[in-house]
Subunit: 347 residues, 2 copies
């Protein structure tokens, strides 16, 4: 899922996002409640109409943002109070209020409010936050039924937490697995921990989540993450990486991530990726993209963003195909043998 | 002609520029000689291929930019020496070298090097610069024939100057009218002088230019300028205004220029201009554009740029139609009765 934090996938028209092959987009409840606000989005006929996206929209509850972006966030059992990072105004989020917001937006997939901790954190704090997230899930489910009257086309996902504590991960996953939700997410990973730790935590979480419901890993991932996390049972991803990296001139290719501003691309009068069917690769050369980035031209940001999203969509299509053909591991090995992660192709 | 200074119409894909109805785009020799440089553009197969624009390209000679952007510009009879505004490197332009550059780019319409003065300037300096521009035109024509061998698909335009001196304007226009060029431009206007002065200078220039050749007013104009300058015989325009204003949130509408960031647009759940068929007006509401600009989102810059270019292209189409129907003045009056220039709609 491409990330459209402020009701736009940065730099792209919704038709271009759709053309990348993306099926769902993510928007952020935290950002949208502050600007333009629920009332305005309701007036506009909902988030889909407002932003011109005809496919499904998943909205994050804001749990992650309120703890990373907002000033003076304070958690109580009731919810979290904080100050807007835009104008400093005092705000509040509760498990119930974020359901109201997301129903108001007309989200297709709503996320529960969870208590997200910065790392490193003590085991006791992680236990508290994980337990609180569980209680907030119960309240979210109740609020969902109360507010939607059982007739909503929006569905609710729960979020398993647990920090980097194996037993808390298991307990939390089991709790979410039992909840009356349409899908199960794993949160609080890819927050700076080493990749093997993330893999270990996934292995303590995913096996306890029902296979019949979608399993969503929040905030992940890179091209290499997709293979390793699908291998561990993940179905859905969201991440700012493809579009954020793109705006910094980092493009995904089958050989790895490249830095288009680097002088080695200056005279490459061929597409960045000959095998790619995105607008950057079909309409322009690497030399032109290099020029656009060197000259600080917005078209470069657009083309790179569309390219990286298309790269991930094609990768996910390849992953699905390899699973259906019963050759996932071979395909993962082929990818890994060629793909070089950050920096390796930047010289 | 939309302006693509650095081989890109800022924020837009060439297909979007084409969709606005624009037929020719302008690129800047000064910028392109510095970055990415002639050699690279030649390697790429010319400017059209490099930037993915399939229509005609007009390149400015760089005369205007070298006097406005470059550091330490010094004019001699030979040409102008200056330092790059990017890296401070010493550079030179002569009437012959800018023909070589433009032929190398593969420009469809090439402009002569002219000597552009900042205003205010003394009559003596204006006389000198205008005379020099005339001598440089002769050298440009000779260089064009020498370098292209008479077989080029590129054509050359001359530029009439003369500052705000009526008699110099007439002399210069007569000189360009006699030259062996495919079209005639009027330069050195819209540089800060009042609109009636520009109109007066046009009236001292255009009547002396041949009607059988296109007459091009450089660096103009606004929606209101197009009517008044076509009335004085101008056929071709270029200006950064539509795209630059767009990036500042100023959109053209039949009622005048509006500031989309203004609070009055926050809750307007209708297109900025109901009569417009651009992507901004067909796919989105004014409220959404307002949100994009408030949130500093690039999609806003794109949509506003496409909208303003479309507005001008539709305006030029209306102008042509009114001329063909023999009712130009009535159409101009209708436009002027409704259109409010800068600021009037910004409250």
């Amino acid at each position: 899922m491409p990330v459209g934090t402020q009701a736009t996938i940065k730099t792209l028209h919704p038709a271009e996002v759709r053309a990348t092959g993306a099926q769902i987009v993510l928007a952020n409840t935290y950002h949208l409640m502050l600007r333009p606000g629920l009332e305005l989005i309701e007036e506009a006929g909902g988030l889909h109409r407002f932003m011109g996206w005809r496919g499904p929209i998943l909205t994050d509850s804001g749990g992650f943002q309120v703890f990373s972006l907002a000033a003076h966030a304070k958690v109580t059992e009731e919810g979290v109070v904080f100050r807007s990072h835009i104008d400093g105004s005092p705000r509040q989020m509760t498990p119930e209020s974020v359901i109201a917001l997301q129903l108001g937006f007309g989200s297709d997939i709503m996320m529960q409010l969870d208590h997200v901790l910065g790392l490193p954190a003590e085991r006791r704090a992680i236990t508290d936050a994980t337990d609180r997230s569980a209680r907030w899930l119960d309240r979210a489910v109740a609020a969902y039924h109360d507010q939607s009257g059982g007739s909503s086309r929006s569905v609710l996902f729960g979020i398993a937490q647990g920090g980097m504590e194996a037993d808390l991960r298991r307990t939390s996953a089991r709790f979410v697995a039992e909840a009356d939700v349409a899908g199960c997410a794993v949160g609080g990973l890819s927050v700076g921990e080493p990749k093997p730790v993330m893999a270990a935590m996934l292995e303590e979480s995913v096996p306890f989540l029902p296979v019949a419901k979608p399993r969503y890993l929040m905030g992940v991932g890179s091209p290499e993450d997709l293979w390793s996390c699908v291998a561990r049972g993940i179905d859905l991803f969201d991440c700012v990486l493809p579009t954020r990296a793109a705006r910094n001139g980092a493009l995904f290719t089958p050989d790895g991530r490249i830095a288009i501003k680097n002088a080695r691309w200056r005279r490459v009068h061929a597409p960045v990726d000959e095998t790619c069917d995105c607008p950057a690769c079909t309409d322009f050369t690497a030399a032109y993209l290099h020029h656009l980035f060197r000259a600080d031209e917005v078209l470069g940001l657009r083309l790179a963003s569309a390219h990286n999203l298309r790269f991930l969509a094609r990768e996910m299509a390849a992953i699905r195909q390899s699973i259906e053909a019963g050759r996932f591991q071979a395909a993962a090995d082929t990818f890994a043998a060629r793909y070089r992660a950050v920096g390796a192709n930047d010289e």
